[in-house]
Assembly symmetry: C2
Homo-oligomer: 198 residues x 2
């Protein structure tokens, strides 16, 4: 016996979400079915309108509701320090680190040979222009510590070198509160070679 | 820095779904943000209308779009055999077992001392009436194999005994394709005591 069409339809929509399998989608659908009408309608409203309410910041490409994001609106930050991230999500995470006082630039992806993503698909030209226009002195490249992230970082470093900017990369090492015996060999090697005087 | 209000709002809605934590809700929200407008609107429509489209079957309480569910509409099944389940989900799973030819009755829960759910909150009176009216000969109780499921099964068995119906319970034992060394002691004990001649 199959589920009623409308219910099957809801399950199929939920199954398309990342990391939601068939069984989870079914459980979520039952949960939504049991919601109060006003709650379900508010949830639905939130999904259908999000695409038109949220857009990219005109300067850094981070998601926001206005023309500029909260960070770009803040004129008290250091214009000469720029942190390049691959997604809005990473910008929002790093923005909560109080010691960082610069601005962000969201690439919207990374160069990936495996997935066929070239540098032309990323917000690189706007980055170079921004660096030039704002007299940026240091660019911190904060792409993820994996193959694609590294490739992108090296590619950007080469480009930025020509503009006479100091380019740095987030440090590799042990996560705070981590265990040495849980760390992999590559991380331990990086933590050793990047050791700092105390 | 906080996310834009509309985005935060969507994350909060997603966080209320079962087994979706903060990080997952964030990932889902980004996925929804990246959806095509028509896809997001169909998904939203599916959520907002499901509550009014789906209701309970008038006979067995299973979820359906019409007055009767597919099983109750099927007049070729055995009216004297009734399988009692705790949820619509379980009825849909068991309906796919071709060897079962009877009808279902959905309790919509189980008796639970821990959660303060008494028999008055379950569809028990309609079950007793149905057994009487349809001259049911056997009731298979298919509540989950745990404390609450067992309590409910025993409670129903006591009630149904008075109506002169044969009451049975799904067999306990090893799952097909399972491993004996992964089975717990209680299951193994049940599998031994319920052993069958070959």
């Amino acid at each position: 016996m199959k589920y009623p069409l409308s219910f099957e339809n809801l399950i199929n929509h939920l199954k398309k979400l990342p990391s939601i399998g068939g069984k989870s989608a079914e459980r979520l659908a039952y949960h939504i079915l049991a919601m109060k009408p006003e709650e379900a309608s508010e949830f639905a409203q939130s999904i259908s309108t999000i695409g038109s309410v949220i857009h990219s910041c005109k300067v850094c490409n981070c998601i926001c509701e206005d023309d500029l994001c909260e960070i770009c609106k803040d004129l008290n930050r250091d214009k000469t320090l720029l942190c390049v991230v691959q997604s809005s999500k990473d910008a929002y995470v790093l923005a909560n680190v109080s010691s960082f006082t610069g601005y962000f630039h969201v690439l919207n992806g990374v160069i990936s040979i495996k997935n066929g993503i070239g540098p032309d698909r990323l917000n690189i030209s706007s980055l170079l222009e921004r660096v030039k226009q704002d007299n940026v002195k240091e660019v911190i490249i904060a792409t993820n510590p994996n193959l694609d992230g590294e490739t992108t970082a090296l590619f950007l470093a080469k480009l930025l070198e020509k503009q006479n900017v100091s380019v740095s990369r987030l440090a590799y090492g042990l996560p705070v509160n981590g265990n040495i015996d849980y760390a992999d060999e590559v991380t331990l090697g990086k933590a050793l070679s990047g050791r700092q005087k105390i």
